[in-house]
Subunit: 332 residues, 2 copies
């Protein structure tokens, strides 16, 4: 598998440079240390900051902008950013009202964001951290104590970002984020492995007749290798696993995200979405809003994930609030 | 290569059904015959209609909505729609002020849209057709007399759609579209072939050390098989071919589109965009606006294309005008 790459060691830096050149009206890209910050910071607003290893684009830089993140801190491919860039981005976005870190649950990310938070707090910057662990596939994994954080992160970044924009304070935002984490579940399946730019090698092998059910976004093993199956069967298996674990009060509505893993054409994602919508309709779960596309990827892995977030009217108002980032845009 | 597919013969229909379920606020999907129509048609507005073989999603259905297309008519995979669905969609969108067809230059599309136009005109509906042929790679090809129509189509649909929304009449819109066709050039390169759902087979073979330079969006042969190269060299070769052919008045500004072919991660597209921006800066061509993403694809082909459209202030105003479709959204 070939890649559009120059020097693999410069891949993340060059991609960020291109991102900055394309979206200079929305973001500013700092080269060293590497972080992406919203062009127009808002005086007095709590800063919303996320980050993690690269290779999951458009997560997180694609979600920096009005109504979502104030900064994204990318590490190298599948590698947590060190505390330094997190700390520097924290200083840049802090408006005296504190900064909320939204961190996907991987051991490296937890450690590095925690260290950055300690340094920032020593400088008098208020920091709160909420860890996202929406992946129901496995309880622990190669890089994780507890569940992994995956595509649900996008929904949380959108809703928490909207609440920050309307003026919620740091404690309120941390509380909202924790409530969202408790209400969101995801699972994914890989039908073809990604190729890592540094090695040019596939990160795992998968036979033509099998899929990795419960795949992680770094190619980590999931629940099982299972037989390749028609799209609807794969969708059903993933959706059942998500529904089994999702807290659903009677009459609950959801935001449904069908997410591509990087190399999956959007036409195939809509085949999956069709089945998800049909199944949810059958069991009386209303899809209040939906999102279909490649939002949290694993380089050029082929496959998809399904995320459901249980919502109420207030969360839907925050979802519908204006957003203006490179990747998500609506509402003026 | 595996696909997220049930019955391959139902792939396009199921994908459209999912698209309609996800975007019911913007479009209505008609099943038989298959077409996608804007939910809120505007009384008295000229209808803008496009279409062609499926497998290029989000083109064209992803661009139906306010400020862009009124209808999209998809055929089966890489197969032109027959005149029937084109005619029916024409009847649905016509507001008595006529319908403009934007057709990519493939022999099947030309014939079928022409037939539909004749039937529509026999019913008293005014129809004008503008053919897009932006691909500089080859003069004629397997499915084409003359140049092929590729990713430049998106830019034309956006700008013509905005002009229709402001109230331009059919003749003005046809003139604008023709002017845009004269001002836009594209070329693409494939680094991995697509897999066709019906056969489960790759549509061509490419060795690990080669690329198809000047690839068509159905996997048609381009200018040459050349050696796989670093991203910047591929970007340079494609950009040079586009610039060689692009009419550029002194001081010309451009809209630059770096388009993914379906399986290319967005992080790689930004590496390409970075180089395109750098090179254009060096020769004094200002990128007034840009677009980076997978907009005109070839199933799960890996690779990219570069499109440049020469623009003036009026075209930029039309580009910036509000658009609200499944795939492009900005400006309220």
């Amino acid at each position: 598998m070939k890649k559009l790459v120059n020097d693999p060691r410069r891949f993340v830096a060059e991609s960020l440079a291109g991102f900055g050149a394309a979206h200079g009206d929305i973001v500013r890209v700092n080269e060293t240390p590497a972080y992406v910050v919203r062009r127009a910071l808002v005086a007095g607003k709590v800063g919303i900051l996320s980050g993690g290893g690269s290779g999951h684009e458009p997560l997180h830089a694609g979600f920096v902008g009005l109504g979502m993140l104030d900064a994204a801190v990318p590490g190298e491919i599948f590698t947590s950013p060190t505390p330094d860039p997190v700390l520097e981005a924290t200083r840049v976005v802090d408006q005296g009202t504190g900064v909320l870190y939204l961190v996907k649950n991987y051991t490296g990310d937890i450690l590095n964001f925690e260290t950055a938070a300690e340094f920032a707090q020593a400088e008098g910057i208020l920091v709160r951290t909420v860890v996202v662990d929406d992946d129901v596939a496995v309880q622990n994994s190669e890089f994780t104590a507890g569940r992994r954080g995956v595509a649900g992160t996008v929904l949380i970044e959108k809703i928490v970002g909207a609440a920050a924009e309307r003026g919620d304070d740091l404690e309120e935002l941390a509380g909202l984020a924790a409530r969202l984490v408790a209400s969101v579940r995801s699972m994914g399946v890989a039908i073809a492995p990604p190729t890592v730019p540094h090695s040019g090698m596939r990160s795992f092998e998968l036979n033509d007749d099998e899929v990795e059910f419960g795949i992680g976004i770094h190619g980590e093993r999931g629940r099982a290798r299972t037989a390749m199956a028609p799209a609807d069967e794969l969708a059903d298996a993933v959706l059942d696993a998500v529904l089994d674990d999702l807290p659903r009060p009677a009459g609950a509505r959801v935001i449904a995200l069908v997410n591509g893993m990087g190399a999956t054409p959007v036409a195939e994602l809509y085949v999956i979405y069709r089945r998800v919508a049909e199944r949810l309709g059958e069991i009386g779960v209303e899809i209040a809003r939906s999102l279909v596309g490649s939002y949290v990827t694993s380089l050029d892995m082929a496959g998809f994930s399904v995320t459901l977030l249980t919502v109420d009217d207030e969360l839907l108002r925050l979802w519908d609030a204006p957003v203006r980032t490179a990747m998500l845009r609506w509402g003026g």
